[in-house]
């Protein structure tokens, strides 16, 4: 048996803005705190750290500060560790390059973040077609651009952020294509948030000056190429105004983000659907992050996509709430003012989510022969046929077609599958349902599963070193 055993008061899943803030708050309140993250470096998708330790950009600097704050407060880090099993009796199991671990904790804060939503369109499986978040990650953590002549397509301000990064790295943005035509609504929304307006305006200005073209009210309707993407066809959502953009080597696409609800699902938390919040997300009390399961808190994008600032604030609140649930005294500043700030920060992010929410017309981009489930190579036509024969939900279509039964466990096809089914059945997305995550939340070799799950609960445990004396034995 080689599984690492860790015992702590508060286990935080995800070391992005929400998780790091939660960890620092919990640890400063005296809880022995462990933070678990899937990647080599903490920071999440927003505070990404370069793998070679260089600091690029203000977000990375902000992130490094947050990591240092967490470390200084006594938080123990478990990096390169993916949570594959979580049980409501506060056991988490991870697997990663450094082996497996069993974590016994008393409360959990799930801050598992979100990833790009994508839609299925002809050619979306070609090499060179990536999610915008993937391109951003490659550039920010590895210093490598996905291509030199790039088209960015989808919806949301994130496209501009990615363009900004890639332009700085020397890539050419051949076109930035925004599905929505919403300049006025967007301007009005930004005007309500003067504290964010300048930042957004600067980003738009910087990017629009440097991209070759920017188009609103258009989508990439097809990626063309044989071994890799070499061109895209662009049109309005009604199919008119079609044109081909040639000579590209990369297409990055993103229609906002989708919460990663695997861990909250395994823990039995209640979830709800809202397109503007990224689709399915965990229900959490805004002031505390409390979920429907006692002792399980959630923070950041998993509670509904709204951006990095609300993530930090909700993380801090959830970290304090998790500590308070253990009977620890929490500093007085963890109160009303944070809640007020969070409400405003969320209103900003969620307003953007509504303005850039995917349009139902996107489901028409796919042809019957377009692959919908990338893993099992199930086509949109096969899913539509299942509906004609009586399938009415995501689960019902999945079991008849295998769409969503592959290695990615239905993550990548969640949005295209939902959109296809909404269009084909006429039922709302909230009734279509989602692919219920199960153990393991990631594919894990059976020897590693055995190693982790058979690890003894008590013997040879390590615990976060600091703060141990701050917690009275009676409370343990």
């Amino acid at each position: 048996m080689t599984a690492q055993r860790i015992e702590c008061d508060v286990a935080i899943v995800g070391a992005g803005p929400a998780g790091l803030s939660a960890a620092t708050a919990a640890s400063m309140s005296g809880a022995r705190t462990l933070i678990i993250d899937a990647y080599v470096e903490a920071g999440g998708q927003y505070w990404m750290q370069a793998s070679d330790g260089r600091l690029i950009g203000s977000q990375a600097a902000e992130g490094r500060e947050a990591i240092h704050r967490a470390e200084a407060s006594g938080v123990q880090f478990l990096k390169s560790a993916e949570v594959f099993a979580a049980y409501p009796d506060f056991q988490l199991f991870t697997n990663g390059r450094a082996g497996t671990a069993r974590i016994d904790c008393r409360t959990v804060v799930v801050a598992s973040g979100a990833h790009d939503r994508t839609t299925a369109f002809p050619g979306w499986t070609l090499p060179g077609v990536m999610t915008a978040g993937g391109g951003q990650r490659l550039a920010k953590t590895q210093g490598v651009v996905p291509g030199m002549r790039i088209v960015l397509s989808g919806s949301g301000i994130f496209l501009y952020a990615v363009a900004d990064t890639l332009l700085d790295k020397g890539a050419e943005i051949v076109a930035l294509i925004e599905m929505r035509r919403n300049e006025t609504v967007l301007a009005r929304h930004l005007a309500r948030f003067p504290e964010r307006w300048l930042e957004a305006a600067a980003l738009f200005g910087r990017v629009r000056r440097r991209v070759r073209r920017w188009l609103n009210g258009r989508v990439v309707v097809e990626a063309l190429g044989v071994e890799r993407v070499g061109a895209v066809r662009v049109a309005k959502l009604d199919g008119s105004g079609i044109e081909t953009i040639e000579g590209i080597d990369s297409l990055l696409t993103s229609y906002g983000f989708q919460p990663q609800i695997e861990v909250t699902s395994l823990l039995g938390c209640a979830h709800r659907f809202d397109d503007a919040l990224g689709g399915w997300h965990v229900e959490a009390d805004p002031a505390t992050g409390r979920t429907s399961v006692d002792g399980v808190f959630a923070a950041g994008e998993v509670t509904g996509v709204s951006g990095a600032r609300p993530a930090q604030l909700s993380g801090t609140l959830a970290g304090y709430a998790a500590a308070r649930a253990l009977g620890l005294a929490v500093p007085p500043e963890a109160t009303a003012s944070l809640v007020r700030q969070l409400a405003r920060a969320r209103a900003f992010g969620q307003g953007l989510g509504r303005i850039f929410a995917p349009l139902p017309e996107l489901s028409r981009l796919a042809r019957d022969d377009t692959v919908l489930c990338r893993c099992e190579e199930v086509t949109v036509g096969e899913v539509r046929a299942a509906v004609r024969e009586g399938a009415r939900s995501l689960y019902g279509s999945k079991i008849w077609t295998r769409a969503g039964m592959g290695r990615c466990q239905g993550r990548m096809c969640r949005m295209p599958m939902t959109m296809t089914l909404v269009a084909a059945t006429g039922r709302p997305a909230s009734e279509i349902g989602y692919n219920q995550p199960r153990v393991p939340a990631r594919p894990v070799p059976v020897d590693a599963v055995l190693d982790a799950l058979s690890a003894d609960a008590t013997s040879n445990c390590s615990t976060p070193a600091s703060n141990r004396l701050n917690v009275s034995p009676a409370k343990l």
Binding site: S51, D116, P127, Q142, E377, C408
Partner: protein, 83 residues
């Protein structure tokens, strides 16, 4: 932190930064973007989500197939096959 390592890609020696991922090392050195062919339709696939979730960038690493190039840091002497 810094320094270089040697990896073998389809039998060819390659020098790259020790802190890089397999995916980045491959892309930066002209491998890809196609990294494999799918089983059923035999169509090419490469890096897609770039963050360990889509399982499209699978390569064989030190004889073990099905490893995510985007999540695996390189190490000295690592053998990578892209079928």
């Amino acid at each position: 932190m810094t320094g270089n390592v040697t990896i073998m890609v389809n039998g060819t020696r390659l020098r790259c930064a020790a802190t890089t991922t397999v995916a980045a090392a491959l892309l930066a050195n002209g491998h890809g973007p196609g990294l494999r062919k799918t089983e059923k339709l035999e169509t090419p696939r490469g890096l897609f989500c770039g963050m360990g979730l889509c399982y499209d960038c699978l390569v064989t690493i030190d004889g073990r197939p099905g490893q995510r190039a985007c999540m695996t840091p390189v190490s000295d002497g690592m053998r990578i096959e892209t079928p």
